[in-house]
Amino acid sequence: MTSAIGTTKQASGVTTPQRPRRAARRLDVNKATMLALIAPSVVLLLLINAYPLVSAANQSLHNGTLISSGSFVGLDNYRSVLTSPQFWQAAEFTLIFTIVGVFGSWAVGLGLALLLQTDIPGRSLLKVLLLLPWVVPIVVSATSINYLVATPSSPVPSLFHALGLGAPLFLANPGWAKVTVCVYKIWVSFPFMMLMASAALSSVPDTVYEAAQMDGAGAVARFRRITLPMIARPTYISWILMTIFCVNDFPTIYLLTGGGPISATTTLVVLAYRTVFQNFLVGPGVAIAFLMTLALVVVSVVLYRQIRKAAFH
């Protein structure tokens, strides 16, 4: 006989909790099964992610070379990196590059997504064409940009000259090189932001806009009070992703300027690469990479909190 609480009353009259024990055993078996099922994935993930991470962390605490681990130096590599002017110069440009890259591409992407919401002629074709900067391999587009701006007689400097705007050295002047790299980053990234914004905008019900319009809200008010808040979550997600893309963007810088002139466009990821593979200082190079990761985690956590707030509202 089974009671409501799952105990079994035996002939002797002694009540034993057999059902829960069996259930608990089954639960244990299920747990073990589940653990065993996910074990191969966990092992693979550990091999693919954790092992290199731990290995890299270990390298950042040693003064090794590319083929040997070297001796333990504690936090010396971090100390030397954090006291190096090159690191802070690269950190400053990384910050500029990221802020301009994220918000520049977001502004352009959102603007174009809003434009594509309207019934403009050739909308489908325009959508495809606007995706091209994102689709074309970086090597190809960087080479094209180089052709357009590299020499004083290249098309863009020639155009500037013809318009009486002087003959700027877009890649040779440190200031202009920074501008060129940032503009190029916006150009290659806005299609991604446009796609994210388009998807977000399509989820905003028309009825909300209609109601606001009936209440007398103008276009600007509707954008500020309805559109922006309602696409806030996907916007924060796109910012997180683009921040990661910008901070880790190696090919854009390396192909376009190589980090120059005079290190003006060197970002942290380029500095880390050069430190490891050109100066052969593995420990400091990996330490730079770890500091970058730390910064990215902080930024991501802050933005995730914003997402949660947006969800709550």
């Binding site: 590299a150 020499t151 004083p152 390396y254």
Partner: protein, 441 residues
């Protein structure tokens, strides 16, 4: 339930077992693959060994090299050789990963200072025995003077030289002819010619220091060497801020201010720089010994100057990189590595006979071939420039692992860009000294 358990049924535990088994097998396979590849490479009677080579010239070179290596017939019991091209892009990582995991080559070409670097890290098999063999069979005497000894370190010969990458001055003959200019022989003449060229819209100090282009670094070092200076002192210590170097860089600064240097050249990639030479915008400047081949200038319009320029103190010099073939400790047979390297050195003349390489040969016997002498620019480089050539170690004379850290470094790149842009020489040299110093700590 029992009847459902036929032979095809896979129980939950069975499935898990298979899954875990497969995962473990994959992991074991992954772990063991690196360790066993060296052995896998050595099969057959003497097995095989890996020879890694770089794209030293147009693809036809690598095709010929592959064919040459395939024709290698080792003595009984020694391994044959396999040929693999390693691209220059990220070659440092490729070699480092392979050497660290014992999956690297037994013999390779590579970066000019790579052998010194790996020797310091214990991965190189010294070539002392091979050099001794060369001395006994006469091959040693066939090398151009000083080339083999340049590979010597206190611990032994780290490699065997096989070709030279030289930097020389070039000029555009039709433009010089049009403007009635004669090729300069001194720095003063060069400046004067450059000024005339600049007045006519040409640049007399063609250079490039953009992404992936390191010629600008070489040009600056060559200018220092040409003035009796260099990055190192006679004791082989880093010593950049010297009166001769300052004077050389002041000369470069003058050229920049007089618009003899293209102000955009700091950002020129190799392709852009070559395009400037091809279009004639660059009418004079320092480049590799095979600018005509590299830039695709096939009409004979560019030619090397008759010889190195004479500096203000009478110094004459140019820069050379002594590329070499190195042997690694990770080999199926050291005797096999040495036998292959000796055979390769003996048979590499085919590259120059077929006009496939832009580097200069290191063997007198190749220089003497009619096929090489028909390559007038390379032949002129050997006869008129090579006797004055110095390497990166100047004014010291010992190649070392540290040079790998300097050549191509961001510090030297920033310095060259500063100078091409007309920056202050002394400040730039001081910055270079202080930024390079930690690499030698």
């Amino acid at each position: 339930m029992a009847e459902m358990r036929d032979s095809n049924h896979l129980s939950r535990r069975g499935f898990l077992g298979v899954g875990l088994g497969a995962g473990a097998a994959a992991v074991l396979a992954a772990c063991s693959s690196s360790g066993s590849s060296g052995k896998a490479a050595s099969g057959g009677s003497g097995g095989t060994m890996k020879f890694w080579d770089m794209p030293w010239a147009a693809p036809a070179y690598n095709t010929a090299a592959q064919k040459l290596v395939a024709s290698y017939k080792p003595a009984s019991g020694l391994p044959s050789a396999t040929y693999q091209i390693i691209q220059w892009a990220n070659f440092t990582e490729t070699f480092a990963a392979a050497v660290a995991s014992n999956t690297g080559p037994a013999v390779s070409t590579g970066g000019g200072f790579q052998a010194f670097q790996y020797a310091q890290q214990g991965a190189i098999a010294y070539a002392d025995h091979l050099i001794q063999t060369f001395k006994s069979n006469g091959t040693y005497d066939d090398f151009l003077p000083g080339q083999v000894e340049a590979m010597k370190t206190p611990a032994g010969y780290v490699a065997v030289p096989w070709q030279l990458d030289i930097r020389v001055w070039w000029y555009n003959k039709p433009i010089f002819s049009k403007l009635g200019l004669t090729p300069p022989t001194t720095w003063d003449e060069m400046e004067s010619v450059g000024t005339t060229l600049a007045k006519h819209g040409y640049y007399g100090f063609g250079a490039g220091m953009g992404a992936g282009n390191f010629i600008g670094q070489h040009i600056m070092v060559m200018m220092m060497i040409n003035n009796g200076g260099g990055l190192f002192n006679a004791d082989n210590k880093l010593d950049v801020v010297t009166p001769r170097n300052i004077e050389a860089m002041e000369f470069v600064q003058r050229l920049a201010k007089a618009k003899i240097i293209d102000p955009a050249s700091v950002s020129y990639t190799t392709d852009t720089e070559n395009a400037q030479w091809k279009s004639g915008k660059f009418a004079m400047g320092i480049n590799t010994g095979a600018l005509d081949i590299g830039a695709g200038i096939t009409d004979g319009s560019v030619a090397p100057l008759p010889g190195p320029l004479t500096g203000p103190h009478g110094d004459k010099a140019c820069l050379v990189f002594q590329n070499n073939i190195m042997m690694y400790k990770n080999t199926p047979s050291q005797a096999g590595s040495e036998a292959f390297t000796a055979w390769y050195i003996k048979n590499m003349s085919t590259y120059w006979k077929q006009n496939l390489l832009s580097g200069l040969p290191v063997l007198k016997s190749i220089v003497a071939t009619p096929q090489f002498q028909q390559q007038t620019h390379l032949d002129a480089a050997v006869k008129n420039w090579l006797p004055y050539a110095k390497n990166y170690a100047a004014t010291g004379n010992v190649l070392s692992p540290s040079l790998a850290k300097v050549d191509g470094s961001q510090q030297l790149t920033a310095f060259a860009q500063t100078m091409l842009g007309g920056g202050d020489p002394k400040t730039a040299l001081q910055t270079l000294q202080s930024s390079l110093q930690p690499l030698f700590a």
